[in-house]
Each structure stands twice: as structure tokens, then as C-alpha cells.
Amino acid sequence: MGYKRYIVKRLIYIIPLFLGISILNFSLMHSAGDPIRLMTLGNPSPNIGEVRENLRIYYGLDQPIYVQYGIWLWRFLQLDLGTSFYSGRTVNTIIGMYAWETIKLQMVALILALAIGIPIGIYSARKQYSKLDITITSSAIMGISIPIFYMGIIFILIFSFYLGWFPSFGAHSLQELRYPFGSYFLDELWHLVLPTVAIAWVSMALYIRLVRSSMLEILRQDYILAARASGLSERTIIFKHALRNATIPLITYIGISIGLLLSGAPMTETVFTWPGLGYLYVNSVTQLDFPVIMGINMIITLIILGVNLITDLLYGIIDPRIRYE
């Protein structure tokens, strides 16, 4: 009973957050200046004033800002993100074309980072101050100090240009002829390797540090000592008692890091010319295509909020103190 109430609470809790971010997003776009003026900045037409006025009316930009926000929100709730200033296609269509590639890339990278980072973090904590621990911690601090795009460039230089093992750009080969063994799936995987490893490398370093420090903290607790005193095996103590408690900060961090990775998508995807939302975003910003920019911002916000919600629900499952609050 407690848990259901908790879920409902968290769900409702998201609404003001979403409204807050959308208002911030909307006002940011509008305080950024008049998009029509920006779009037509270099236009030499003599009756530019009239053209601008017409464009404003066309896009509904002549109305007061709160009315504009209201209209935008109403449309958003009907899943209508508007039309691109440039291509004239609906934002839904455009985002639909790019979103999957970003999600695929980030998911694979995340799974990779967790699958490698967590065991290394646990090992490092158990063997605190051993040689291997020192090697791991120093590599991890190196890892968090490398910008993802730089990591990508280095990878491209080594594994693509010099060794020629992996492609340096795109998510697919342009021609079917170039698919490894003629398989589309393998082609996808082949293109995924460099960007996912580059992203995973950096986030893995963060997970290692996080898991290590929270494990160290937990291994100092009395209940671990008590578990030892009851004769439980080391395996049970580490993997059941300690790890389960360490999952709580870990989940928080996964939630945050998904947001960070999505925000960092423009850089990764630019380096690898990856046809995802980040790549689209940079292009749209360069063109000042506000409906698309807004659309991507809100989609990413929704993803982050969704992840936050899942995080909260997982807390409830793991930690009874939250569930029965």
C-alpha cells in the first residue's frame, strides 16, 4: 500500500518539474532574441520589415509570450511539436528520423559502462590500497579527465585511420555492398564500436569511482561487521549486503549520468558524424531552427524525467525506508 502511494506521489511530482523546465526552455528561446530577425539577418530585401511581419504572423510570433506558451504547451500535450522553420517538415517527423540512433548509441554505451565499471569498482574497494587498486583509481581519474570528443578523435585516429579496423563516421554503411558478411546487423554493430567505447570509457571511469567509494563507505558500517561476526561468507557479505546498499547511490548516479550523456550527445555525435539527435541539434542551432531546437530539448527533458521516475521507483524497491516513509 505504501509503495503504490509512493509511486503516485512521484508521478505527480514530475508535473511541476516538467512545467518549470518547459517554461525555462520557452523563455530562453524567446529571450534569445527575435527568431525572425535572426533568420533574416543577412537578407538584403528592401521590404524586409514587411517580410518579417508576415513571417511573424505566420508562425504566431505576434501574440503575447504567455499566449504563445499556452499554444505551444497545448500542442505539445497533443504531441504536436510544430513545424521546422527550414525544411517545413513537422518536428515530429524530423526527430523521429534521428532519435533512435541516439537512444541506441547511449543504451549500448551505458550497458557497457555498467557491465565493466561495477565489477572493477567492487574489486578496487575490496583490495583498497593494493597495487591493482591504485592502477584502477589512477586510470579512472584519467578517464574522467578526458573529454568524450577528444577520446573519440583519438579512437578514430588509431582504430580507423591507422589500423583501419572500424569506420570513422556514420551509423551505417552507405552501400549494402560494404556490410560485413552482408549482414545489416553486423554493420550496425561495426559502426557502434568506436562511439560506444569512447562514451563508455568516460562514464565507466565515473562508475568505478562511485562504486568504489560507496563500497568503501558501506564496508565500514557496523552491519557489515555484524554480518562477518555471524559467519557469513565473504561472497554473501560483498554481493548481498554491501552491493545492495551501494546500489542506492549507484542508481542515483545512473539517472544523472543519462542526462549528462544526452546533453553531451552533440559533441559525441559531431565527432563520429552520428545521425542522432545531438547531430541534428547542432545543425538546427546553426540554422536557428527554433521549433526543432525546442522539440529536441523537450524530448530530452522527457527522457530525463522518465529516467528520474524509474530511479525513484527503484529506490522504493531497494530501500524499505523509502517505501514505508
Binding site: 506521489k9 505527480i12 511530482y13 511541476p16 516513509e325
Partner: protein, 336 residues
């Protein structure tokens, strides 16, 4: 101003402190009940005497003490110190009056580890009251500070040191010195020795005793350790769930306790006599939650002497003998 009976410095009248209990809502929290930390408490303390406040955790002793000093805002009730209405003074926001009242009443805390700012030297800590009150000229600050240090049994060179360089007992001495810096008349000592080692406790208790006779201080001594209470108090008030259930002169209370809870409490203290297995009264159950307590006698669920009326009415604190107050329907009987 209020005329207090002769010798009485502090009078607490019907003091009540409720803490609201919130439940986190969607946007804001809403109140679902209140903790009756301290409920309708009245007592008097005479000049130069020590009143002991005894009770288990959750009985409201610390809340009571902090409310008297307006560190918690009272829900209702009044406190008079030397005739001054304490709460009225604090509520008036008159800075001068508040400061002069703060100088008269001081507090000594339970945990000497968290009660000293780790970033300040002992000299800074003891001289901070001077900075706040400016009751003595700046030139004399260090001189007074050294006097205080020696008074509480520390050395001069300790003044330059930081709290982490001291042991618990020494820290408690610093705390006492800081409290004395404003030259107070009244001290509340909240479990001042319970976090100290046994061999250090006696040092601090003796120091408190010496200071009392030297400066004619009035104390409220809060403790859950009955043996120290017996040792340094003149009068003792026993608290249970936010109420005073028994109040009497110390020997009277320990030798002929009237309230069933007091009896159990005294018998529960392990005596330092081997082999003498006491015929102790073991209370069943635990202290109930102070959130929305029952309207009848609060001790009823754990009391083996209860009669029908105990579950119907709430007993009042009544004087059953000379200066012996009990809050029990059977307080006048001798119960075994």
C-alpha cells in the same frame, strides 16, 4: 514583572511544546499530528539549588530545557526568571532585553564533541560571549579568559589550541568556561557527563558542584542516570512522555517514591553490590509514541497498579505530602 515566592528564581507555568508532524505532500507538506514533547509542565527552582530532571529518551527533558531558554518556541505556557517573563521578552525582539536575559541563563550540552566549533581556538570560543555582549572592556578579555580557563581546571596554554586536540572531559570544561563567560546565574546542564568516560565523570560533576557553591548558581540538571542525580540534586522531577509524574526532594523521592513509574525507574538501576540481585520491577513494553498520546493516564499501558479510573481520566500533579507532588490516582496509597 511578577512577584515570585521568596528564593524562587525560576518558575515554569503550564509549559507546553508540541512539534508538528508533517507528511511530505506533492508540493508542500501537511501536518498530520503533533509530538507532545512537553505537555503542561509546571515547577519552581529555588536560588542556589539544583533541580534534577529525570526520564528516559523521549520523555521531553531536553525539549523542556531548550524551551525554557527559548531555543525552541513554546506552544503555550509561561516562564518567569527573577520575575521577568522570559517568552514575552524574547518575543518582543528588543535586542537589549534579550541579550541581558541570555546572559543570565546558560546551557551546557550533552555532547562535548559537537558543542565546540572545530574551526575556533579555545580562546576564540571562550571570548565569543564577550564579542556578543561587550559587557567587559576589550582590554580585559584575555585576562578574563585565562581566569576562566584556570577556574575550570585547564592550563593557560590550552587557549591557543583547537577543540580536536582535547579529550571529552577537557572539552566539557571548555564548554563550562564558555557558559560562565557571560556570568550567568542559572545553568541548565543537559546530561553533561553521559558521553564522558567513567573516570572523567567525577571530575566534571565535582567541578559543577564547586562552581555552584562559589557563584551561588542555580542548576537544572538533566540526566537519565539516577545515581548521579541522587548525588548532585536537591530536588528531582521525574518525566514520562512529556509530563512530570513525580516531583520531590531528592532523598524523599529515592527513599519513598510514590509513582509506579518512579519506582520502576529506581529499581531498574543496577546497584554496585555484587550478589545482591535486586527485586527489580521490570516494566512491560516500551514508552509509547509521543505523537498524539492518549487522553487518559499516559503510563496506564505499562502500569500494573491501574484501576478503572486510570483509563478514563488524566491524573493531575498533586501535592500529596509536603513538597512531594505525584501525578497518579493512587499516589496517596503506599503501593508495593
Amino acid at each position: 514583572m511578577k512577584e515570585l515566592p521568596k528564593n524562587v528564581v525560576l518558575e515554569v507555568e503550564h509549559l507546553k511544546k508540541l512539534f508538528p508532524v508533517f507528511e511530505k505532500g506533492i508540493l508542500f507538506s501537511h501536518q498530520t499530528g503533533s509530538i507532545h514533547a512537553c505537555d503542561n509542565v509546571s515547577f519552581k527552582v529555588e536560588k542556589g539549588k539544583t533541580l534534577g530532571l529525570v526520564g528516559e529518551s523521549g520523555s521531553g527533558k531536553t525539549t523542556l530545557a531548550k524551551t525554557i531558554l527559548y531555543l525552541f518556541h513554546p506552544t503555550s505556557g509561561q516562564v518567569f526568571f527573577e520575575g521577568i517573563d522570559v517568552f514575552k521578552t524574547f518575543r518582543s525582539k528588543n535586542k537589549q532585553d534579550i541579550l541581558s536575559l541570555r546572559r543570565k541563563m546558560q546551557y551546557i550540552f550533552q555532547d562535548p564533541y559537537s558543542s565546540l566549533n572545530p574551526r575556533m581556538t579555545v580562546a576564540d570560543i571562550i571570548m565569543e560571549p564577550y564579542q556578543i555582549h561587550r559587557h567587559i572592556p576589550k582590554k580585559e578579555w584575555p585576562i578574563r579568559m585565562y581566569e576562566l580557563l584556570r577556574l575550570v581546571g585547564l592550563e593557560d596554554y590550552h587557549s591557543e589550541r583547537y577543540p580536536h586536540e582535547f579529550s571529552g572531559g577537557q572539552r566539557q570544561r571548555v564548554c563550562i568556561a564558555r557558559a560562565l563567560a557571560v556570568e550567568p546565574e542559572f545553568l541548565i546542564a543537559d546530561e553533561p557527563v553521559s558521553s564522558l568516560d567513567v573516570s572523567i565523570r567525577a571530575q566534571i560533576l565535582n567541578l559543577l558542584g564547586d562552581l555552584q557553591s562559589k557563584f551561588n548558581l542555580t542548576y537544572i540538571y538533566i540526566s537519565h542516570d539516577l545515581s548521579t542525580v541522587r548525588h548532585i540534586c536537591d530536588e528531582v522531577a521525574v518525566m514520562y512522555l512529556g509530563r512530570i509524574v513525580e516531583l520531590a526532594e531528592v532523598n524523599e523521592l529515592f527513599e519513598s517514591p510514590r509513582h509506579p513509574y518512579t519506582k520502576a525507574l529506581i529499581s531498574a538501576v543496577p546497584t554496585s553490590k555484587p550478589g545482591q540481585k535486586s527485586n527489580r520491577i521490570i516494566l512491560p513494553g516500551e514508552v509509547p509514541s509521543p505523537i498524539n498520546p492518549p487522553l487518559y493516564c499516559r503510563f496506564y499501558p505499562r502500569c500494573k497498579y491501574h484501576i478503572p479510573i486510570c483509563k478514563k481520566k488524566d491524573p493531575k500533579l498533586e501535592e500529596i505530602l509536603n513538597k512531594h507532588y505525584v501525578s497518579c490516582f493512587r499516589g496517596k496509597e503506599k503501593l508495593d
